[in-house]
């Protein structure tokens, strides 16, 4: 699974962290998304897809 994030689209909602805090975090300054794992294991599939769906900025892309 390959995950990419587009910081320009991020509005710091934190929905990604809510869904998978092992793959996503938010920066200290303005809460912009930080991708912790570019290639998370398949265990994370459901959570990462939920994060992508929940992202209000549509900043997360997942390639299975």
């Amino acid at each position: 699974m390959k995950v990419t994030v587009d910081a320009n689209k991020c509005v710091s909602s934190g929905n990604c962290v809510l869904n998978d805090p092992e793959v996503f975090d938010q920066d200290e300054d303005a809460g912009v998304v930080i991708l912790l794992q570019e290639n998370p294991s398949s265990e994370h599939a459901a959570a990462v897809h939920a994060a992508a769906l929940a992202c209000p900025g549509r900043a997360i892309t997942v390639e299975d």
Partner: protein
């Protein structure tokens, strides 16, 4: 199939619509019926204009995230809530509420720091403490207690004043001014006076924090003033915006949420008894979906032509996205009129909106509701409504739906 015939105004339903008395939790049934025919269609609003009303879930979600849709209320064709909002549109400073794209992102990022998932997690002990103290007072006091007055209003107010960095000594002043506009018979003047008093108070507080910052939202804003990005008035405006946007909304959700739980005792039992934080969180998402309290429709205007669901929204057309019918769209949520706290896709609701303007306080609201609902159910397990359900007064005329008071006994 594209729309080729201009419809006459008398054929169009008026918006907003009224809820039917039969089920006060239901969105106006007229909108639910509209979704059966099409996910969007034209309506007529107060000034005679005919924007698109979106009631279908997929179209709502799609348009929220569409970059061809704008929140700028100075653009021709923007479907204003009412005459007052139209009249102030040119006087309102640029902020998160009326900008798009990069301009919006710049403002948004000034507000996001205190609302990150982790910062909010850090607030949980305070939220729990504030909640417990409010319930202590209820239990020590006379019956019936009013859940609105004694829990739904104070908890979010105290939490947001902690978050903003309002000194404890000023909490009472802050609460009074913040709640002035929320009172049942509050006039527009009351709301304005409340807002003005708060605004000048916050300007002073921002100045203090410029000199002596702490770890709170007003200090974050003061930092931006020090950096020359915004001035004190804009900082106070953003601070007031945070307060107003997140205060009545959360208070209303707590009030009407408790009522919904009282009306669905098996669901309440589920929430009371679970030790699974995922179920507690899901329960709040389902309450958000079921209640979808924002009832004035999210107002937008199209910047370019948009082809969607078989129609063409033309550039300059007003668009109103109504969250409540979208969250009761049976194509997305099976048996939408049933409150099911373990509903699998509850988290996909639009109760906080969607797209770049999605509620900035959503994580805080979630944490507050998760804590308040379960704590209340556990600490007052025999709580019941002290008046007949038919006598509950609902806020039909406010931006956010809710109840004016909720007397309970136990």
């Amino acid at each position: 199939m594209t729309e080729t015939v201009a419809e006459s105004r008398t054929d169009l339903p008026d918006y907003p619509m009224e809820r039917s008395g039969a089920c006060p939790f239901s969105p106006p049934t007229q909108m639910l019926a509209m979704t059966e025919t099409a996910p969007l269609s034209r309506v007529q609003i107060w000034d005679g204009s005919t924007p698109w009303l979106v009631t279908g879930y997929d179209v709502a979600r799609s348009l929220f995230a569409d970059t061809r849709i704008s929140v700028d209320d100075c653009i021709d064709g923007f479907p204003h809530w009412n005459e007052h909002m139209l009249s102030i549109s040119t006087r309102r400073p640029r902020s998160v509420f009326n900008t798009d794209a990069e301009e919006h992102t710049r403002f948004r990022r000034m507000l996001s720091k205190p609302f990150t998932f982790r910062r909010v997690e850090g607030l949980r002990p305070i939220i729990q403490k504030v909640t417990d103290e409010a319930i202590d007072a209820i239990l020590a006091g006379p019956q019936p207690a009013d859940i609105v007055e004694q829990l739904a209003l104070p908890v979010p107010t105290i939490v947001i004043s902690e978050m903003l960095g309002v000194p404890y000594a000023d909490h009472e002043f802050f609460q009074e001014h913040a709640n002035r506009g929320l009172a049942r018979y509050a006039t527009a003047e009351d709301t304005a006076k409340g807002a003005m008093g708060l605004h000048s108070y916050l300007v002073d507080l921002v100045k203090k924090k410029m000199a002596n910052p702490a770890e709170d939202a007003l200090s974050d804003l003061a930092e931006r003033v020090n950096a020359g990005e915004i001035d004190e008035k804009e900082a106070a405006q953003l601070g007031t915006g945070l307060l107003i946007a997140g205060h009545e909304t959360t208070a209303n959700m707590i009030g009407i949420g408790v009522l919904a739980l009282l009306q669905n005792p098996e669901q309440a039992d589920l929430l009371r008894e679970t030790d699974d934080p995922k179920l507690v969180a899901n329960a709040v998402e389902e309450l958000m979906r079921y209640l979808s309290i924002i009832q004035n429709g999210q107002r937008r205007v199209a910047l370019e032509d948009i082809e969607i669901a078989g129609v063409t929204i033309k550039a300059g057309d007003g668009v109103i996205i109504d969250l409540a019918p979208a969250d009761w769209d049976p194509n997305q949520f099976a048996d939408p009129d049933r409150l099911r706290l373990d509903r699998e896709n509850a988290g996909q609701h639009l109760g906080f909106g969607y797209g770049r303007h999605q509620c900035v306080g959503s994580q805080l609201a979630r944490a507050e509701m998760q804590i308040v609902f379960q704590t209340l159910l556990r600490r007052i397990p025999t709580m019941k409504l002290a008046i007949p359900f038919a006598d509950v007064d609902f806020k039909n005329d406010r931006l956010a739906y809710g109840v004016y008071s909720l007397p309970v006994t136990w």
